[in-house]
C-alpha cells in the first residue's frame, strides 16, 4: 500500500510455454474464466527458455511476482525441457528465499492445454498471494549505500 | 440454509451425481428404506430436506458405506444419510445411547456390523 492509500495494483509477469500453458491460458479465455488483469503473459516456446536473468530483470523493473508455467513433467512438447526448468527454478527460487525475498513471489506451475480452469485458479491464487505480500521492495532498487 | 449445512457437513456435492443408481443397487437396507440412497442426492439437490429429516431411511441405514465405496462419481450418498441422521440426532439429543446402555443391549445374535455401525452412529 502506498502512502496515498491508493489500491495496490501488483505487476505480475507470467511466462507461459507455447504448447501447454499458453494454450491453457487461451482456454481460460475462451471459457471466460476470469483472473486479475495484473497478470500479463509472455509467450516462450518452452518453460526451459526462461532464463533466471528474465525473472530477476522483471523484479528489477518493478514486478511484484513472477510465475512460470509449463507443460506437466513428462508432457513437454520438447520432451525434456520442463525437467531442466524444474531443477533450475528449484535452485533459483531457493536462492531468492535465501537472500530474503519473500517466498511466494515466484512460482512454477504446470498447466496443460486442457487446464483452462487450473490456469485461471492458479492466476487468481497467485495474484492473491502477491496482494497479501504487497509491493516488492526487497528485490527492487533499494540498496543502502553507506 | 439447511441444504448448505448438509452439503458442508457431508462434503457431498450432489451435482456430481450421474444418477446411475449404484448406491441403491449396493444397499443392503434398500427394501426397508422409504427414501432410497440415490434419492437422498436428488432430495438434497431439490432442497426437500424436510422429507429427509422425517425419513425412515436414516434409521435403516447400516452405515456400511457400500454406496460410498462403489459410487463411480465419488458422490458418497452414505455421507448424506449420515449427515441427515446427525441432524436429527442432534436435534433430539435425549435419545442418544450411552456407552453403558450399549453393553446391556448386546446379545450373541447381534450382527457385528450393527454393533460397529451403532458406535459409528452414536459416537458423535
Amino acid at each position: 500500500m502506498s502512502i496515498e492509500n491508493k489500491e495496490f495494483k501488483p505487476k505480475i509477469v507470467a511466462f507461459c510455454c507455447n504448447w501447454c500453458s499458453y494454450a491453457g491460458a487461451d482456454l481460460a479465455g475462451s471459457s471466460r474464466l476470469a483472473y486479475p488483469a495484473d497478470v500479463k503473459i509472455i509467450r516462450v516456446p518452452c518453460s526451459c527458455r526462461v532464463n533466471p536473468m528474465f525473472i530477476l530483470r522483471a523484479f528489477e523493473k518493478g514486478a511484484d511476482g513472477v510465475i512460470l508455467c509449463g507443460c506437466h513433467p513428462g508432457d513437454c512438447h520438447y520432451s525434456t525441457g520442463n525437467y531442466y526448468t524444474r531443477r533450475r527454478m528449484s535452485l533459483l527460487f531457493s536462492m531468492l528465499d535465501y537472500i530474503g525475498v519473500e517466498n511466494g513471489r515466484t512460482r512454477v506451475e504446470w498447466v496443460s492445454a486442457a487446464e483452462g480452469v487450473k490456469f485461471s485458479t492458479t492466476m487468481n491464487d497467485f495474484a492473491k498471494t502477491i496482494h497479501s505480500l504487497g509491493e516488492n521492495v526487497r528485490l527492487g532498487d533499494i540498496r543502502c549505500k553507506n | 440454509m439447511i441444504q448448505d449445512d448438509i452439503k458442508k457437513i457431508s462434503g457431498v456435492n450432489p451435482y456430481k451425481c450421474m444418477k446411475c443408481g449404484k448406491c441403491s443397487a449396493s444397499c443392503p437396507s434398500f427394501n426397508e428404506m422409504d427414501i432410497k440412497p440415490h434419492q437422498f442426492v436428488s432430495y438434497v439437490l431439490n432442497d426437500d430436506i424436510d422429507a429427509l429429516l422425517k425419513s425412515e431411511s436414516i434409521k435403516q441405514c447400516l452405515s456400511c458405506f457400500a454406496c460410498v465405496e462403489r459410487c463411480p462419481r465419488d458422490v458418497k450418498p452414505g455421507n448424506l444419510i449420515d449427515t441427515v441422521r446427525q441432524m436429527v440426532v442432534r436435534k433430539r439429543g435425549a435419545e442418544l445411547l450411552s456407552p453403558e446402555e450399549v453393553t446391556q443391549l448386546l446379545d450373541p445374535e447381534l450382527p457385528q456390523q450393527l454393533l460397529v455401525s451403532a458406535f459409528r452412529r452414536y459416537r458423535r
Partner: protein, 662 residues
C-alpha cells in the same frame, strides 16, 4: 529503427466490448518505432488483411503488431498477409488481447489498460525482430504405421494406394488387432473376420506395404519428413522365408496348456503357435518363456517335425533402422483390469466375463466353438445379465472418467444375438444411459428391445455373488421402478471400459507426441486437426486418440492417411526458423548446451575465429537448424549467453519484460 504498424482488431464485439480499441491504437502511436496505428472490425478478414497490406505499402512499414486473438489462432494468417505485403513474415507479432484480455475482464477500463500494455510488449519485441527465413529439409517418401489393427491396416492401405512405401510395425505375431477378436459387428451384424480378413490379405499382398509383426519400435530420432526409427524384430525362432505355415509344429508341440492371448485366456494354445487361423503372416512364433526347449534345452520336437527346416532356436532379435517421412500411431486399446471391482466377482467366478471375452465365446473359432455356455460347467444358460459402464464414467481411481463409447452398442448387439440364437435365454441389461448416436444405432438398440425383448433396466448392479447352486446372485436396482432387483443369473457380462494399449506412453515419449492424463494421444486441435499430433509428422489413427467404433476408426484411418500423403507428396519442407544460434565469438565450447539438447542438434567444430583481430582456432558450438526445434534449453544453460533463440531472443524477451513492468 523499425517502422511499425499497429492493427487493433475489434473481433466484432469480442474485443471491442471490453477493450477501448481506439484508445489502444492511440496509445500505440506513442511507442517508439510506431508510425501507424488503426483499429478495424475484423482484422483477419480479407478487408482487414488488405488494410495491413496497404499500410505497409503506404507507410513503408518494416514491422507489424496485430492486437487480436491468440497467435495460436491467426498468427499464420497475419504472417501470410505480411508476406503478401512484401515484408518478412517473422516481422509480425501478435498481442493477444482477446483470450488473455477482453474475454476474461469485465471492466472496460481495466481491459483497455491491460490491452495497451500487451500491445506495448509486442511493439517492444517487434522493435528487435529480425527477418527470419525458414530452412528446407527433405522428405523421405515412406511412412511408418505403429500398430497393425484395423486402424493401422486401413491407413497403410490408403497411403500405399497413393503410391508411397509403408511399413507396419505390429507387436503381436499377427496383424488384425482387436477387430480380429470380434465375432459380429454392429449395427449390421456382419461377421468381423469376413470383412477384416480381406483387408489383412490386401495389406500383406500390397507391393508397397511391408509388415513387421512380432516387432516393436525401439528408438525414434529425427523430425518431420526425416525420422529415423529403429525397429526391433523380436526373435520369432522361425525362419519366415522357409516356413510354409503347415501348422504341424503347433499340433505336435507338447506344451499345450498356455492361455491363449487371442482367446483372452479362455482357451489354450501351444508354445509354438499362430494366434489364430487367419493370422497374417501365417507363420508361427515360439513363446520362449513357455517353450520346453528354451526352458530345459530338451524337446526340440517342432524342429524334428518341420519338413521345411524353418525352426531356428538360435535366432536373435534383429534391429532394423529405417527412415520415414511420416509416422502414424495406431496402437489401439485394451480393456481395463477388473481387479479393483470386487463387487462383480470377476476374479471369483468363471461365469462372470467381459464383453470381449463373450466375443470369443460367441465366435465359432472360439473356446466353445461358438456355443453359448457357462464357462464353469458348460451348461446352457437360462438367465444372462449384462452390466454396462463397468469402469467407464468412473471418476474414482478404479475406473476411467470418460465414456468408452462402444459398450452400449456392442451390449445391444450381444443381447440381440443371444436372443436371436437362443430365444429361451432371458437377457437383462443394466444401464445408466443408453448412448446410441450414430447411423442406424438407435434403431438397432430399439430392435433389441422391441423385436428381441431384451430387458433393459435403468439402474446399476451393486453386487454379484456366486451362489452354492452355481448361479450368480445379481443385486441391482431399477431406478424407474424404485425397487431393488435380485436375479439368479447363469452368466454376467461386464461392459468393461477400454483404455489405450499399455505401451502407448513409451511410444508417445519416443515421438515427443503429447498424451493426455488418460494416455490418449492429444490431437493438434480437437476440432480442426483431429488426426494430427501437435508433433509435426506424427498422425493419429483409431482408438489411440480416443474411444471409437470400427466405422469411425476406419474414417479416421483414412483421414490420417490423407494427412500423411499430403506430407509425403512434398519434396521439401520448410523448417521452423526460430532455432537456436551460437555466437561464435562468445562460445566457450564447453558442451553444456549439447548436454541438454533433446534433439542432438548441437555439434562442435574446431574453427578459425577472428575475435576482434585475435585469430585463433576455437572449439565452438554449431546448431544444425534442421534438427533444432527451438525449445531454448541450450540458451539458458549457456553461461556466456552465446546461445540465443531466433524469434525469442534474450533481448526480445527482456524487452517484453521491460514493457510489461514499465
Amino acid at each position: 529503427m523499425q517502422r511499425i504498424g499497429v492493427f487493433v482488431c475489434h473481433c466484432g464485439s469480442n474485443i471491442a466490448a471490453t477493450v477501448d480499441v481506439e484508445r489502444v491504437a492511440q496509445y500505440a502511436l506513442l511507442e517508439p518505432g510506431v508510425v501507424h496505428a488503426e483499429d478495424y472490425q475484423y482484422m483477419c478478414s480479407e478487408a482487414g488483411q488488405m488494410k495491413i497490406i496497404e499500410a505497409v505499402k503506404e507507410k513503408n512499414l518494416t514491422g507489424i503488431v496485430v492486437c487480436s486473438c491468440s497467435p495460436r489462432m491467426h498468427e499464420t494468417t497475419f504472417r501470410n498477409a505480411a508476406k503478401r505485403a512484401g515484408i518478412n513474415p517473422y516481422m509480425v507479432e501478435i498481442a493477444n488481447i482477446r483470450e488473455h484480455c477482453s474475454w476474461i475482464h469485465k471492466d472496460k477500463e481495466e481491459g483497455t489498460e491491460k490491452a495497451v500494455i500487451l500491445a506495448r510488449a509486442a511493439i517492444a519485441k517487434v522493435n528487435l525482430n529480425t527477418p527470419l527465413v525458414p530452412g528446407e529439409s527433405r522428405v523421405t517418401k515412406r511412412a511408418l504405421i505403429i500398430g497393425g489393427g484395423i486402424a493401422g491396416i486401413q491407413t497403410a492401405l490408403d497411403i500405399a494406394d497413393a503410391g508411397y512405401e509403408v511399413d507396419i510395425v505390429e507387436k503381436t505375431p499377427s496383424i488384425g488387432g482387436r477387430m480380429s477378436q470380434l465375432d459380429k459387428t454392429f449395427p449390421t451384424l456382419d461377421c468381423s473376420a469376413c470383412i477384416l480378413t480381406p483387408k489383412m490379405v490386401d495389406a500383406a499382398a500390397h507391393e508397397k506395404i511391408n509388415i513387421y509383426t512380432y516387432s516393436e519400435v525401439d528408438k525414434v530420432s529425427g523430425f518431420v519428413g526425416d525420422f529415423t526409427v529403429d525397429i526391433r524384430k523380436k526373435a520369432r525362432s522361425i525362419d519366415m522365408d522357409k516356413c510354409t505355415g503347415c501348422g504341424v509344429c503347433s499340433e505336435k508341440c507338447p506344451m499345450k496348456k498356455i492361455p491363449s492371448e487371442f482367446n483372452r485366456g479362455l482357451g489354450n494354445r501351444s508354445a509354438i503357435y499362430t494366434p489364430f487361423a487367419q493370422a497374417i503372416p501365417n507363420v508361427p512364433v515360439i513363446d520362449r518363456e513357455n517353450c520346453i526347449k528354451f526352458k530345459t534345452g530338451k524337446c526340440g520336437l517342432c524342429s524334428t517335425v518341420c519338413q521345411a527346416g524353418a525352426i531356428d532356436y538360435e535366432q536373435e532379435d534383429e534391429i532394423i533402422s529405417e527412415k520415414y517421412g511420416a509416422i502414424v500411431v495406431a496402437t489401439g486399446f485394451d480393456t481395463i483390469k477388473l481387479d479393483d471391482f470386487d463387487e462383480y466377482a470377476y476374479n471369483q467366478s468363471k461365469d462372470v466375463i467381459t464383453s470381449l471375452e463373450l466375443e470369443r465365446v460367441m465366435n465359432a473359432a472360439g473356446p466353445t466353438k461358438g456355443h453359448l455356455e457357462r464357462l464353469s460347467d458348460g451348461k446352457h444358460p437360462e438367465e444372462i445379465v449384462f452390466i454396462q459402464c463397468v469402469g467407464s464414467r468412473d471418476v474414482t481411481c478404479r475406473g476411467k472418467e470418460y465414456c468408452s463409447k462402444v459398450c452400449c452398442m456392442y451390449t445391444a448387439k450381444h443381447a440381440m444375438l443371444i436372443r436371436d440364437k437362443y430365444p429361451d435365454v432371458n437377457v437383462t441389461v443394466f444401464y445408466i444411459d443408453v448412448r446410441t448416436p450414430g447411423k442406424n444405432f438407435d434403431e438397432f438398440y430399439r430392435r433389441a428391445v422391441e423385436e428381441y425383448n431384451v430387458n433393459y433396466v435403468k439402474g446399476q448392479v451393486g453386487k454379484v455373488a456366486p451362489m452354492e447352486n452355481g448361479k450368480l446372485l445379481v443385486q441391482g436396482v431399477d431406478l424407474l421402478d424404485n425397487r431393488q432387483i435380485l436375479k439368479e443369473a447363469d452368466m454376467v457380462v461386464l461392459a468393461t471400459a477400454i483404455e489405450p494399449e499399455a505401451g502407448v506412453r513409451k511410444i508417445a515419449t519416443m515421438l515427443t507426441a503429447s498424451i493426455d492424463t488418460n494416455d490418449f494421444l492429444t490431437e493438434a486441435h480437437p476440432k480442426l486437426r483431429p488426426v494430427e499430433s501437435p508433433t509435426a509428422g506424427v498422425f493419429l489413427s483409431g482408438v489411440c486418440q480416443g474411444p471409437k467404433d470400427i466405422p469411425e476408426t476406419v474414417a479416421q484411418a483414412g483421414a490420417a492417411a490423407v494427412k500423411a500423403i499430403g506430407l509425403l507428396a512434398k519434396d521439401k519442407l520448410l523448417t521452423n526458423p526460430c532455432t537456436a544460434q551460437a555466437d561464435e565469438l562468445l562460445c566457450n565450447g564447453c558442451s553444456t548446451c549439447a548436454n541438454v539438447c533433446p534433439y542432438g542438434a548441437i555439434a562442435y567444430e574446431e574453427k578459425e575465429i577472428n575475435d576482434h583481430g585475435i585469430r585463433e582456432t576455437r572449439r565452438v558450438a554449431a546448431v544444425n537448424t534442421a534438427l533444432c526445434q527451438g525449445c531454448g534449453a541450450c540458451t539458458v544453460t549457456c553461461p556466456s549467453g552465446a546461445m540465443d533463440l531466433q524469434g525469442f531472443s534474450n533481448r526480445q524477451i527482456l524487452a517484453e519484460v521491460d514493457a510489461i513492468c514499465r
